[in-house]
C-alpha cells in the first residue's frame, strides 16, 4: 500500500464534463438543518420521557403517552439526526474525494423530501400505536404479514426505497471513480451505505415475516447491532479519517492501520449481533461467537483510536483553537471508553448483573451521543459556515454547546452506570422490585438534570446555526480549503 492515499486528497473538478459546481451546497444545508430539527425533537422527547421516571410527566392522553415519546426519542436519534446528518456530510465528502458530482439533482430533492416524509409518518404512526415490534426499527410496517390491507403508511417500504435512492446517488460517483485508488473514507462510506440497505431489509423482513420467536430474535439482535456497527460506525470512522487530516493539514498517521481497521470491522462486526440477547434461548455457540467477536472488535477500535491520536500528535494546540477538533477528540475519548466497556460487559459474568438495567442506556447514550453525535456536531460546526457562506454568528455559543454537552453526557453516563450496577445486584439478591425503583429515583433525578444540560447545550448550538444563517457576515474560505485541487489526485492503478 502506498502512502499516496494517506491524506484526503481533493482532486480537481472533472472529467465527467458536467457543468455546475462539484458540491451541491443546498442539499448539505437542508440535510444538516433537518438533522438539527431532529436532534431537538430527540432530546426534548428524551427529556420528557425522563420526567416519567420522576412522576412529573406532563401529558395524560394516549397519543402523547410516555411509551410513544420513547419510540420517537430513539427513532429520531437514528433516522432523523444520524441519517440526515451523515447524508448531508456525504454530499460534501464523496464529490470532493472522487472528483465526480453526485448522480442527480432531481434525485437529491426526492431523497430529501421522501426522507422527511418518512420521519413525519413514522412520528404520527407512533402516536397512534402503529409501531413495529423491532427495536430501533419501530418504523410502521403499515400492514400485517399475510394480509395486504393497509392500516398505515408503509414506512418500512419507503425507507427501503429511500435507501436504494441514497445508494444510487452516492454509488454512481464512486463507480465513475473506480479507476482511482480509494481513500479509506470512501471504503467506509461505500460499505456503510450497502450495509444500511441490507441491514434494514434483513431486520424488518425476517423476524416479522419469516422466522418467529427465538430465531427471529437472533436477527433482531443482528439488526440492532448492524445498524450501529455497519452504518453508524463506518460513517463515523470515515468522517474522522476525512475531516481530521483536512483540518489538521497533515496526513493520517498510518494508512495501513486504517485499512486493517476497515477489513477487521467488515469481518468481525456483523458477527457480534447476538450479544444483545445473551443468556437467552438462542443456542450457546452463537452467543460464544458473538462474545468473542465483540471482544475482537475492541482490538480493532484500539487501532483506530491510536491512529486518531497519533495523527493529533504535535498539533495538540488545535484542541484549543479549533472547535471541530475538540468535538472530534472528545468523541474519540468517549469512544474508547465505551468500547472498552463493551469488551467487558459482553461477557456472561457481566451480563448476569448489568443486562436489563440502567447500565445499558448509560452505554447507549455514551456511544450514540458522546461519540457519534459529537463527531457529527464537529462536522456541522465545520460545514455550516461553508454551506451558508456566513461566518459563525457567535464563537462563545459554539463553546457553550460543546462544554454543556460534554458535562451533560459525562454526568449522565456516570449516574446511569452506577444505578445500573446497584439495580443488577439488587435484582440478584431478590430485593423487592419497588426497592429497586426507589433506589433508582435519585439517580434518575441526576439523569434529568444531565439531560437538561445537554438540551441547553443543544439550544445554544441550534440558536447559533439559526443566527448564522440569517446574518450577513460573509464567510471567507481559508486558502487551504478553497481549492478543489488541494493535492494531486491519486490516479493510476494500485
Amino acid at each position: 500500500m502506498s502512502t499516496a492515499t494517506a491524506s484526503p486528497t481533493l482532486p480537481a473538478v472533472t472529467p465527467g464534463g458536467d457543468d455546475g459546481p462539484l458540491v451541491e451546497y443546498r442539499f448539505i444545508r437542508w440535510h444538516l438543518a433537518a438533522a438539527g430539527v431532529s436532534i431537538l425533537i430527540t432530546m426534548v422527547a428524551g427529556f420528557l420521557y425522563s420526567l416519567q421516571f420522576l412522576g412529573y410527566y406532563p401529558f395524560s392522553g394516549s397519543a402523547l403517552s410516555p411509551g410513544h415519546i420513547r419510540l420517537i426519542h430513539t427513532n429520531f436519534a437514528a433516522y432523523g439526526f444520524l441519517v440526515n446528518g451523515f447524508t448531508g456530510m456525504t454530499y460534501y465528502v464523496i464529490p470532493r474525494l472522487t472528483g465526480y458530482r453526485v448522480w442527480s439533482k432531481k434525485l437529491g430533492y426526492f431523497i430529501f423530501f421522501a426522507w422527511q416524509a418518512i420521519l413525519l409518518f413514522a412520528f404520527l404512526g407512533y402516536l397512534f400505536d402503529k409501531a413495529q415490534a423491532i427495536e430501533w426499527g419501530e418504523t410502521p410496517t403499515g400492514f400485517r404479514p399475510g394480509t395486504f390491507e393497509l392500516n398505515w403508511v408503509p414506512v418500512d417500504l419507503l425507507v427501503a426505497v429511500g435507501a436504494v435512492c441514497v445508494i444510487l446517488q452516492f454509488m454512481v460517483p464512486l463507480y465513475k471513480a473506480r479507476r482511482q485508488r480509494y481513500y479509506v473514507t470512501l471504503w467506509y462510506f461505500t460499505a456503510g451505505y450497502i450495509w444500511l440497505a441490507l441491514t434494514y431489509l434483513m431486520g424488518n423482513i425476517i423476524p416479522e415475516w419469516v422466522l418467529p420467536g427465538t430465531a427471529g430474535a437472533a436477527v433482531t439482535g443482528l439488526f440492532i447491532h448492524d445498524l450501529v456497527g455497519l452504518y453508524v460506525t463506518p460513517m463515523g470512522w470515515g468522517l474522522m479519517y476525512f475531516f481530521v487530516p483536512l483540518i489538521l493539514k497533515k496526513p493520517i498517521w498510518s494508512h495501513s492501520l486504517s485499512v486493517i481497521g476497515f477489513w477487521a470491522l467488515a469481518f468481525f462486526y456483523p458477527m457480534g449481533g447476538v450479544h444483545h440477547f445473551l443468556i437467552s434461548p438462542i443456542p450457546d455457540y452463537v452467543e460464544f461467537g458473538a462474545i468473542s467477536t465483540t471482544i475482537a472488535i475492541e482490538v480493532v477500535v484500539t487501532t483506530v483510536v491510536v491512529n486518531f491520536f497519533m495523527t493529533l500528535k504535535g498539533k495538540y494546540s488545535t484542541l484549543r483553537t479549533s472547535i471541530p477538533i475538540r468535538w472530534f477528540y472528545a468523541g474519540a475519548i468517549y469512544y474508547f471508553i465505551t468500547c472498552l466497556q463493551c469488551s467487558f460487559h459482553t461477557t456472561w459474568r457481566f451480563q448476569k448483573i448489568i443486562h436489563f438495567t440502567d447500565w445499558v442506556p448509560g452505554h447507549a447514550h455514551m456511544i450514540m451521543y458522546g461519540t457519534f453525535s459529537f463527531w457529527l456536531f464537529g462536522v456541522i460546526d465545520w460545514l455550516w459556515p461553508r454551506v451558508t457562506k456566513r461566518e459563525w454568528a457567535s464563537n462563545s455559543l459554539r463553546s457553550w454547546h460543546f462544554w454543556l454537552s460534554t458535562l451533560g453526557i459525562t454526568i449522565m453516563f456516570l449516574t446511569l452506570t452506577m444505578s445500573g450496577l446497584i439495580h443488577g445486584f439488587m435484582q440478584r439478591e431478590l430485593n423487592p422490585w419497588m426497592d429497586i425503583i426507589d433506589m433508582s429515583v435519585p439517580f434518575w433525578y441526576v439523569r434529568t438534570f444531565a439531560g437538561g444540560l445537554m438540551l441547553s447545550g443543544l439550544m445554544c448550538g441550534l440558536w447559533n446555526m439559526w443566527r448564522t444563517a440569517h446574518h450577513d457576515v460573509p464567510y471567507v474560505e481559508e486558502e487551504h480549503y478553497a481549492s478543489d485541487a488541494l493535492d494531486p489526485a491519486p490516479t493510476g492503478a494500485a
Binding site: 400505536d129 480509494y182 471504503w187 430474535a217 433482531t220 445499558v360 425503583i437
Partner: protein, 212 residues
Amino acid sequence: MERFHTVFFAAGLGCFALAFILCLIFPWMSLKKYHGMDYAGWDEITRAERITPEFHQLAERYPEAFAQSFGEVGPESYREALQLGRDLYVGQACWHCHSQFVRVVSNEEQRFGKPSNAQEYQNVLNQPHLWGTRRVGPDLTREGGKRPNDWHVAHFIQPKNVTPGSVMPSYHYWFEADGTPKKEGFAIISYIQWLGSDRVYRDTHPEEFDVD
C-alpha cells in the same frame, strides 16, 4: 484491495452474508434439530380449551361492556382480543420497560419462574418476539394468571394506587370513569393474562414443570 469492486463485493456483501449464515441459518438449524420448534398459529392458540379462565372471567364480570366490544367468548373474539392487546403492547412500548424472557442467572428462576426456552416463543404472538432489552418493571413472561383481572384493571388505571412509587404510566384512557374496561382495556388484560406463554407449553410438556 483498494478498488470499488473489492470493497463493494468482499466487504459489503461477502462479510454480511457470512454473518447472516453464522448468526441466522446455523442457529435456526440447530434449534430446529434439538427443539423441534412446532409453530403455533392462531388456530392453535385460540382453541376453545386454550382460552384462559381470565378471559371468561372478564366476560362474566362485565357482561354488557364485553359483549359490546367482543361479543361472545370464543376463538374469534379471543383472537381479536389477543391481536389488539399485542398491538397495544407494541404500540405503547410496554416492551421497552418490561422484558419477556427469564434467564437462568441472577436468581431469576426464583423471582419470575421457570427460565424461558426456545419452543415457548414459537407462535404467532411472538412474531416478532417481544423480549426487550430493559427492565424498568418486572419481567412479564410468567405474568398470565399471576394476578386477578381486578388487580390489572386498578393497576392500569393508576399504577401508583396499587404499587405506591411505581413509575409505570397510567393507562386510564382504556377504561371508563367507573373502571369498566373499554375495548382496549379488555384487550390488554387478555394479552397480559395470556402471557404465561408457558401456559400453552405447560399443557403439552407437563413433565418439565415439576421442578419444585
